[in-house]
Symmetry: C2
Subunit: 597 residues, 2 copies
């Protein structure tokens, strides 16, 4: 059999893409109406595979790492994205053909001409397009000026146009908004993680890379809140010695292999927390079947970094489209919580407890609402809230030097009259201090991981490994070597013939397997070879055949997909055996009595 | 303890709603920015509970019933909803206050005045508002004229405004569009079901009923495709004898208790297929904890029926808001497939095989493209496709009588020149005939079911059932009696003291439970009574306490939530015992050695 990954030039990619549609993995949406670029439907096999990957992710992040799971709306009002920065900064540069008016993402037009075109500034892009004399790929026309195009889908909530809203481009924002509540639900313990699995939406200018660049996609994001001043991160010990492939932004052309601990201590990776989640990500990717030697972590160039990120490493996997980002692990520092505090006036802090309570000089501001009320009327409370977020020591200094104290409220910047403020300083026993947590975010593109998993599981052979197994349909013999735990269908159930009492044995076996939560495929027609071939194509790891001997010896045959080896197992044990094989509690070698090899 | 359901007048509802927010079940979205009506966040407990309900749904529909799972985008281009009928008909009547301009859903203003206001026509609504002299509930102002308001959220795909699109109001449409592909994937066998779980979106005019009327909500829908001419439906036998409460639209004021088989044979329920899925729905609702006596099926009034439905029965559950629709089970007949065939020209049929091939006179039309091409140019293929959907016998008659043959293509109605058509009739051996399948759709509102489950699980008591158990926080002692299989946290793990070697015993127990896929809660602080109380509030069915005796006898205590009874179990067995209790393989009574009762 020939190996993975798939090279688009050798024909396997198109072979695979036809199989994926025919077998119900995924296919373009709305095809009967001509299709719409950037939208895909997951068919029966794709949906199960995707759900299995998500289940693994939840096992890892929610059950093992203990992240709190949340589930928030896709639609959010404009105010959220005004403060998160997405309204201003979440955009791509667009240019239109002056002849055919087709729109293009400007940096993509330079993809084959210069490297990292997506990290160029507007001016650099403009110059590069000009210098390279780039024309419209559609009609050869001249390209128009660059425009900034915001990638969020816009809509309106309610009956008018006074409440603009957007579909979320990432699931993260709702988690930040809920931080105060989640921190309380977590009984004010920090660090802690919050996870969300759901759809993300990006109105891509001209999406063209299949499932890798969709306008609507499945994400699984974790936001890990921690104290940036805490000493070390004990959990990092788990991955301290893990060797990974790293492409740092100081040397973007070379991948080096290094232990995570060295990368952190040399300052290449900015913290043990970031290093830890790179370790978790690496281990998760292995667990769903991505080979170690097809993975690397690449650090974003400074010009490529999202507006919220202080540092970011992508897990990239080598696919038929080249090295593709699957997971982004970003250090978002305190950016988002601080932005939403500014935007809403809501404090978003956690408590840093001292080892022992200490005596401390504490300065507090109090506001006299009797003075503030008549001046600001309805806005007085807002002014009060804004004052309470100021640093009391700084206000004290302003008052002492006679400088104005200013705050920003919804109607703009206003000056707070000094007579409404009083400053008190006293010695107090304090148990800790408040701080804005930092955030490390591992953000997984589930559809992309699915593509990577499929490409690395797909193998072709001239002919079947067993003489009686025929290819189902035209072309080579195809096998998808998905791990049992993520394969969509776990077990085929085949009565050798649809008569002579064999279905009466087979039907209860299928029923019992399903009762045990396993997806099965019952097939009683055609040659056994073709039935195996059909299951091999969709990656079914095991098939059970009920033959004439079964009536005498009470045993059935289990065939393992990757070796074609068959072993006989008593019907009474079959559900436990398949279940243990699928959950990887046992391996096929643990069974005895091979009948064919 | 006092019983469920919650009556909004006795204070329990507000008690519960505070608990649900404090404990992280669900709460209004975007609260730090003042909130937006109709949007809710699921917190850590709500997300787990919702996922557990969805898992049960998948177990039932995908694993047990064998429905094919798909997962399609939320955004769909306008053309889909033009042909599905949603663009024209998926709307509510809106009226605005002429003084304060607040918009209202007209029928909701009549809710307390007349029954079934939502089934009134536009004229009837207008008259009813006038006759009852309904004023603006906000400011007492007069109400303006009625306007039709489409409930779909609108957006645009791509860079211009030439590709309008909508957020799906139901997940069903994509399933219909994919029918031809899914039928092939299913190897052209019928009947079969297709399931989709995901978000639905409805831009409600003024949503006010919490989780029951959201603008974005979780749905789980099944579309069951079948041959309406098939004799009976053998699977119906499973529920034939099931007695259910039925409110037929011929007698909408009375609920009668009846076997499903009688209701079908009397013609009250229109088919065995519909009756079967009412049975499945009933059994599912029981399985997630909704009491039999709080459920009924209500048939839609003719005026209330959705534009696509031939008949529809709602599963309603009695909640603190009254009888509320949880599931709609609609007979959509061939409506959607036929609409999309008309819209796209794509044939959406299945094959009805004859028991034996028969000799039959078959009329076929063939189109001479050499004639059609020069006349219609680029549209010739479209004309050809449209002709192929015509009934050959009818075309034959038109040609014989000299009437024009007309078809509708994207540029409008066109006449097909008789010279391009030839009709052939021959005797053929045919194996079957094509037909458009009918559809029965069970459509589940997951959030609503979650509310119903919580309300029926919630109990209050003056004080704790055990003397040492204190209420956590103010107010009465609260217990959520969720079934173990759907409760968010499965097991609390409590070392009696956070010292003396007890954590060393407790931590590995928690780790092992999590390895086994169980969500746990580790708590080492405060009195055991308060720790139990905290778990009782979120419905954790079992708690394990590690005490000083554990060090000697290697046993720990398991406490059952609903009885407060505690039993000792060896540490070596604890993971299996908890796992079997949660999956309901064993019940608590199966354990021996009670220590306190």
């Amino acid at each position: 059999m020939s190996g993975s990954p798939i090279d688009p030039d050798n024909g396997k990619a198109s072979e695979l893409s036809a199989l994926l549609k025919r077998r119900g993995f995924f296919f373009p949406s709305y095809e009967i109406y001509g299709g719409v670029a950037g939208f895909f439907d997951m068919g029966p096999m794709g949906s199960l595979l995707k759900d299995n990957i998500i289940k693994k992710w939840k096992d890892r992040f929610v059950i093992e790492e203990g992240f709190l799971l949340v589930d928030c709306p896709s639609i959010a009002p404009e105010v959220v994205f005004r403060h998160s920065g997405h309204l201003d900064k979440f955009s791509d540069m667009l240019t239109r053909c002056t002849d055919c008016s087709e729109p293009f993402r400007a940096d993509h037009l330079l993809d084959d001409i210069i490297e990292n075109a997506d990290s160029l500034s507007e001016d650099e892009l403009f110059t590069a397009l000009k210098e390279n004399d780039v024309k419209c790929p559609n009609c050869g026309g001249s390209l128009g000026p660059l425009e900034e195009f915001n990638l969020m889908f816009k809509t309106y909530i309610g009956t008018g146009s006074d409440r603009p809203a957007f579909l979320r481009p990432e699931t993260a924002q709702s988690i930040f908004l809920d931080f105060p509540l989640l921190y309380r639900t977590n009984r004010e313990k920090i660090p802690f993680g919050v996870a969300q699995i759901g759809k993300g939406f990006r109105n891509e200018i001209s999406p063209r890379q299949g499932l890798l660049r969709q306008r609507e996609f499945h994400m699984a994001e974790g936001e890990f809140f921690f104290d940036p001043e805490a000493d070390g991160f004990p959990a990092f010990d788990t991955y301290r010695d893990l060797k990974v492939n790293l492409v740092a932004n100081t040397d973007p052309d070379n991948s080096i292999r290094k232990e995570l601990s060295s990368a952190v201590s040399e300052g290449m990776i900015c913290s043990e927390v970031l290093g830890y989640f790179m370790g978790v990500t690496h281990s998760f990717a292995r667990e769903i079947g991505i080979p170690e030697d097809r993975m690397r972590f690449r650090e974003h160039l400074d010009t490529e970094m999202a507006h919220y990120a202080r540092d970011c490493w992508d897990l990239e996997v080598l696919t038929s489209y080249g090295w593709i980002e699957m997971v982004g692990i970003a250090d978002r520092s305190a950016y988002d919580l601080e932005q939403h505090t500014k935007g809403s006036g809501q404090e978003m802090t956690a408590m840093r407890r001292y080892p022992e309570p200490i005596q401390k000089e504490v300065t507090t501001i109090s506001v006299n609402m009797k003075v503030l009320g008549p001046i600001f009327r309805g806005a007085a409370k807002e002014v009060n809230d804004a004052v309470s977020l100021l640093d009391p020591a700084a206000v004290k200094e302003l008052l002492e030097t006679g400088e104005p104290v200013k705050v920003v409220i919804s109607q703009g910047e206003v000056e707070v009259p000094p007579g409404s403020l009083s400053i008190a300083t006293e010695e107090k026993r304090v148990a800790g201090e408040r701080f804005t947590p930092h955030v490390v975010e591992p953000s997984f593109g589930i559809d992309r991981l699915m593509v990577a998993v499929i490409e690395h599981a797909y193998f072709e052979a001239e002919k079947s490994p067993l003489r009686e197994e025929a290819s189902d349909g035209e072309g080579p013999y195809r096998v998808m070597r998905l791990l049992p735990s993520i394969s969509p269908v776990k077990c085929g159930v085949f009565p050798l013939m649809n008569k002579d009492g064999l279905p009466e044995l087979a039907i209860p076996i299928e029923k019992d397997l399903r009762k045990c939560g396993l997806i099965t495929y019952y097939d009683h027609s055609g040659s056994i070879g073709r039935r195996y071939a059909r299951m091999d194509e969709i990656g079914t790891p095991f098939n059970v055949t009920i033959d004439y001997e079964s009536k005498d010896d009470g045993c059935v045959t289990i065939r393992e997909r990757d070796t074609g080896i068959q072993k006989r197992v008593p019907i009474s044990r079959i559900v436990n055996v398949i279940s243990d094989l699928v959950s990887e509690k046992i391996i096929f070698d643990d069974l005895d009595q091979p009948v064919i090899s």
